[in-house]
């Protein structure tokens, strides 16, 4: 089965009100072309789950700035002033989750778990409204899991089976996100009919529903 689709087709998977996970640590491993296609589709009220809100090099930065996002779950927005401004003017709501907690919530969502216990955020605003559970005398926050309708990720290479290979430190949230959405699209820079060596597969193809190949690199 050929998993290749166009960027425009990928954008069709996201509709008004959809929840969307987007990978990337700033622009490293960020699916620029998928988000660009989605910006053209002009969806509204997206629930966006991502590590950060991007910087001016990232398409997600403009996706937020242009008002496509209704709610955001994120760990850091310091490079995207528009995200903070939109919360203050009431056009977007936002939940901060510590970065390690956020990726574990996604991982757990994709791994069939009901939640997990973490010491991160104990005694801070992050624990508000959450259950605190003591294990061996130490308090932990019970954090719940996250899943999404659609995930957009980005890898260096894909083979015909959807196996993915990453370069440098671009894996970041890609791996967790690939497991935690109903429909996963990978933007890739290189595509090969030949299978990748099994040892070089960072995300097995079973997690990847569709592949969009970047033509204009």
């Amino acid at each position: 089965m050929d998993k290749r689709i166009t960027f425009t087709q990928a954008a069709q998977a996201v509709n008004d009100g959809s929840s969307l996970m987007v990978s990337g640590f700033l622009d490293a491993g960020h699916p620029q072309n998928l988000i660009r296609a989605l910006r053209e589709k002009n969806v509204r009220d997206i629930t966006l789950i991502s590590l950060d809100a991007g910087n001016e090099r990232c398409e997600v930065y403009y996706f937020i700035q242009d008002g496509h996002v209704g709610h955001m779950i994120v760990s850091h927005i310091g490079r995207c002033p528009a995200a903070s401004d939109r919360v203050i003017d009431g056009s977007m709501t936002l939940e901060f989750s510590p970065q390690g907690t956020l990726c574990e919530r996604i991982r757990a969502g994709g791994a069939g778990l009901g939640g997990f216990l973490t010491p991160s955020g104990i005694g801070t605003e992050v624990e508000k409204g959450k259950q605190i559970i003591e294990v061996a005398g130490k308090p932990y926050i019970l954090e719940t899991t996250l899943r999404a309708d659609v995930a957009f990720i980005r890898a260096q290479k894909a083979d015909r089976y959807g196996n993915l290979y990453f370069r440098g430190n671009t894996r970041n949230f890609n791996v967790a996100i690939a497991t935690a959405a109903d429909y996963v699209v990978a933007e890739v820079l290189e595509y090969s009919d030949e299978p990748l060596p099994g040892e070089s597969v960072h995300i097995p193809g079973l997690f990847v529903d569709a592949i969009a190949v970047v033509e204009d690199k």
């Binding site: 390690g100 104990i122 005694g123 791996v175």
Partner: protein, 218 residues
């Protein structure tokens, strides 16, 4: 004359031992990597999924797939390794990072840290800081002793939202070095020309001043 930041990061770098795994926060802490002593090799861990981060690249040689936590284009040292965020935070929360250096808005006498949000100002988010302060073996704060407007940063109780509780081990400022021992703040060193009395006057927190206070050499 050295500026305040350089004094702070030069002194912070003296805490690094050969082989330490170190995570440096965005901003001033990152500069500490420029002053590691000769003969000491540290492993810089970036929460973005890398250990063995090297210096920033010369303009023109940027690799878009190699960035540090502040988005700067960097190089990889020999022996560097790449991984995803879940493994990165297993390192961080799981006690595999020896030292984290973080900037602070406020530190209080209970070792509580406020570093990620100034109420009424633009929101930033905590990023990886809450995981780092619960997981790293030592939490070192690199901060100017007073705010730009002359307000206290070493508080009786933090007034800004907390990043972590009872988590700070060492505080390095432009005036002094302070260490938490058994939950109490002790003055360890003063910058040349700065008296313990001056440190106390520039701090709201209660600070224990031992009979011998060292000199902060940078």
């Amino acid at each position: 004359m050295m500026d305040k930041r350089e004094i702070i990061v030069r002194r912070v770098a003296q805490e690094f031992k050969d082989g330490d795994v170190v995570n440096l926060g965005i901003g001033m802490p990152t500069e500490a990597s420029n002053y590691v002593a000769p003969g000491v090799q540290i492993w810089l861990q970036a929460e973005s999924g890398m250990i063995g981060c090297g210096p920033e690249v010369e303009p023109g040689n940027e690799d878009p797939d190699l960035i540090d936590a502040s988005g700067a284009f960097i190089t990889a040292m020999p022996g560097a390794a790449f991984f995803d965020s879940t493994l990165s935070f297993a390192m961080i929360r799981g006690g595999h990072v020896d030292i984290t250096v973080i900037g602070a808005l406020q530190v209080d006498e209970a070792g509580n840290l406020a570093s990620y949000m100034i109420p009424g100002k633009r929101m930033m988010g905590m990023g990886g800081a809450m995981d780092l302060v619960v997981g790293a073996k030592r939490v070192i704060i690199a901060m100017e002793h007073l705010t730009k407007t002359g307000d206290f940063k070493l508080m009786k109780r933090c007034t800004m939202p907390l990043t972590g509780i009872a988590c700070v081990d060492l505080v390095v400022t432009d005036l002094c070095v302070l260490e938490f021992v058994n939950g109490q703040l002790h003055l360890r060193e003063c910058f040349p020309g700065v008296s313990p009395q001056q440190v106390l006057e520039a701090s709201q927190a209660h600070i224990e001043v031992p009979a011998h206070v060292g000199v902060m050499k940078v």
